[in-house]
Amino acid sequence: MLFNSINFAIFLPIVFVLYWFATNKSLKYQNILLLVSSYFFYACWDWRFLFLLVFSTLLDYYTGIKMFNAKNQNVKKFWFWLSISVNLGFLGFFKYYNFFAESFAEAISNIGLQVNPWTLKVILPVGISFYTFHGLSYVIDIYKGKIKAEEDFIDYSVFVSFFPLLVAGPIERATHLLPQIKKKREFNYANAVDGLRQILWGLFKKIVIADNCALFANTIFDNSGDYSGSTLVLGAIFFAFQIYGDFSGYSDIAIGTARLFGIDLLRNFAFPYFSRDIAEFWRRWHISLSSWFRDYLYIPLGGSKGGTWMKVRNTFIIFLVSSFWHGANWTFIIWGFLNALYIMPSIIFKTNRNNIDIVAKGKHLPSLNELFSIGITFSLTVFAWIFFRANNVTHAWNIIIKIFSINFLEIPKFEGIDSLKPIILLILVFILIEWIGREQQYSIANLELKFPKFIRWFFYLMVIGAIFYYRGKEQQFVYFQF
């Protein structure tokens, strides 16, 4: 069930009404309803993988209790490693088995031996990377003594499977979400309205921006051999907006939906394309994953305490693991490596925390210097996205060669260019709205404070009208494949 589907538009109000009217007297019933709804939501994709989700939940729930109650450190370690290995084992099998089998066969063939890789038709269970990371953070936090083990199985299951975040995050932490699940939730009008507003903005980003950009990006990337360097640059820019609209739109819908149920999820995006350097970009892009890696990998590896070279090593490790998290493909690994390279100067010269606040805070416009920095950062990001989007390394390489050739100077031309004007205009309006609202949680969050009701309603109608009128061809959310 996609967030931008009619099915979800029916499912959500039903769960909402049941939640606040039928089960509002008891927290237990509310949580049971959330769990049943979440499992139904998940089963709509493929009910068979529900067993995997339930198994993973049971495993972490049980090992959590065992670890917490263990009096002996070795016993604690045993349960900890059992949980970690099974979780990563499942993730590794479903996500990386074929990649390793094929890469091994290729490596062997390079030394003259022929091996037929024993590949399986492994289907990736949707959301596995996300709910596995939920479970891992919970187990690690118990092991480190940061939290107690959750004894209520229903509450723990809701933490892992809460439907707004189940398939593509934000990746939650037990310390943040579990207390909310255990606490009686009261309906809050302002919160619910804000939730709906965020859902609307998320739908706009996904349906209007991402789906339309996807159409152009797909045409250009799928026929890259036929197009000039300038067209390929345009394709990469479209992909940059596609992936941002798609994933941040998804996150907005997820966060907005959770707010309808009185639950706050972690922020996932904070206007990353307005970043002035790559370090800032990574503090603003997929925040819940970046901070997960920071807390559970970068800091345990020594973080920045061991001097510059340790920081460099740890940064490369983080980007390598992060790229691998996205998928088993060399293109992701190069994408991660490129980002690690980009960030290196700021790590070495200790300028990585120069830009903490949002750009031009309290001002209408950025300075020329800031504008230049944003432009450079955006260009570097777009360049790295080429690897992220390309079908394989050769494909990416061919695109880059063309971009850096003489035909970069040609006027961009591709199939469907005639319908480009309104989309460019929409993207510009979108950038403008994002710029105006960049100091908020999401760009239209402060609408309530600034404008009277009739203007707000008019604005919402305009956004809905744009969603109807400029609806792009329906595309799967990009991050579902991870």
Partner: protein
């Protein structure tokens, strides 16, 4: 909570009302459908008027563009209806249409495009049922698809409204080939016969092999037809030689699967209707005038060679009045 619900409902009502208002304002009025899919009305009218055992050709547009039904009718002296219309309707729709159409002693020749998918295009099915209401029985209603189609339709209407073109009719001569008027009374497209074809064929591509689940659907249909005392035969579609070469391996595998698993008698081999590219009109399944003539001639020979088919056709001929007489009665 009450305030929230009231506001949400009020806002939803506002959106739905505005949408309905806009949708109705921009809807083209009193447009008589001359759409290609509306040809289904005439095909079924003919079946109703004939009201006797007949030969039915069913499949996609390979039949609509690639058969001279009149010649077949004259050759066998048995009424012929060509139901072939569009492969985009999907196999399920085509077979459901047949199930609702066939009558005792009919002889059905199925010519299905290679690896035709079961479900087809919902928008096309919807479009067909807008012209021919009975078609609603041939597919399952999908609320989600209906809503999306309605939104798309409204969007298109807004665009044409803005351009002050309220009718869907287009005067582009190429489009006329894809219109209800393009068909003759037997259900064949004839408007393209004297037209010069576009430079390139559409629908070219590589077929991907996997066991065609359509075989099971065809077997189920065969069972149903048998229970109604209707004979069914399978014939391969026409295909251009360049595309055939490209997809030969897949087509041969498919042909083997069909020979091994299809319960319907197959009258020919895929090679029979492989013609030079120059004999095709605009897509890999649409023959031009010469190609159509050649295919019809070959098809008649193939049917004549098959004793079962020949016998069944003979028995129709013997038990019914001549088609020309029936036409006179109709008139």
């Amino acid at each position: 909570m009450k305030k929230f619900l009231f506001s949400s409902i009020a806002f939803s009502v506002l959106i739905v009302s505005l949408y309905t208002l806009i949708s109705n304002t921009v809807k083209p009025k009193n447009v008589v459908s001359n759409d290609y899919m509306a040809a289904m009305i005439d095909k079924h009218n003919r079946i109703e008027q004939l009201n006797c055992p007949k030969i039915i050709f069913a499949g996609g547009s390979n039949l609509a563009f690639g058969l001279n039904s009149e010649e077949v009718e004259n050759e066998f002296s048995v009424p012929v209806v060509n139901l072939g219309l569009h492969k985009g309707l999907g196999l399920n729709f085509i077979l459901n249409e047949l199930k609702n159409t066939i009558k005792k002693d009919d002889v059905v020749f199925l010519s299905i495009e290679y690896l035709l998918e079961s479900e087809g295009n919902y928008e096309l099915k919807k479009k067909t049922s807008c012209s021919y209401k009975e078609a609603l029985k041939y597919y399952t209603y999908d609320l989600r698809a209906e809503i999306l189609i309605d939104i798309d339709k409204t969007n298109k209407n807004i665009k044409s409204y803005k351009k002050n073109k309220k009718t869907a009719n287009n005067l582009n001569p190429e489009i006329q080939v894809y219109s209800r008027d393009a068909f003759n009374k037997y259900g064949d497209v004839i408007a393209h016969l004297e037209k010069s074809p576009p430079k390139e064929l559409k629908d070219i591509g590589v077929l991907n092999y996997s066991y065609w689940t359509g075989i099971n659907e065809l077997n189920e249909f065969y069972k149903y037809a048998k229970s109604k005392n209707v004979a069914v035969f399978f014939i391969y579609p026409n295909y251009p030689v360049s595309e055939f070469k490209k997809n030969q391996e897949v087509i041969e595998k498919l042909s083997k699967d069909l020979s091994d698993n299809l319960k319907i008698e197959i009258l020919n081999s895929p090679y029979d209707f492989v013609f030079p590219d120059s004999l095709f009109f605009d897509t890999v399944y649409h023959l031009n005038k010469i190609g159509r003539k050649l295919r019809t001639k070959k098809l008649i020979e193939i049917i004549k060679k098959n004793t079962n088919a020949q016998q069944l056709i003979n028995s129709i001929r013997n038990s019914t009045i001549q088609p020309k007489d029936s036409e006179q009665t109709k008139a």
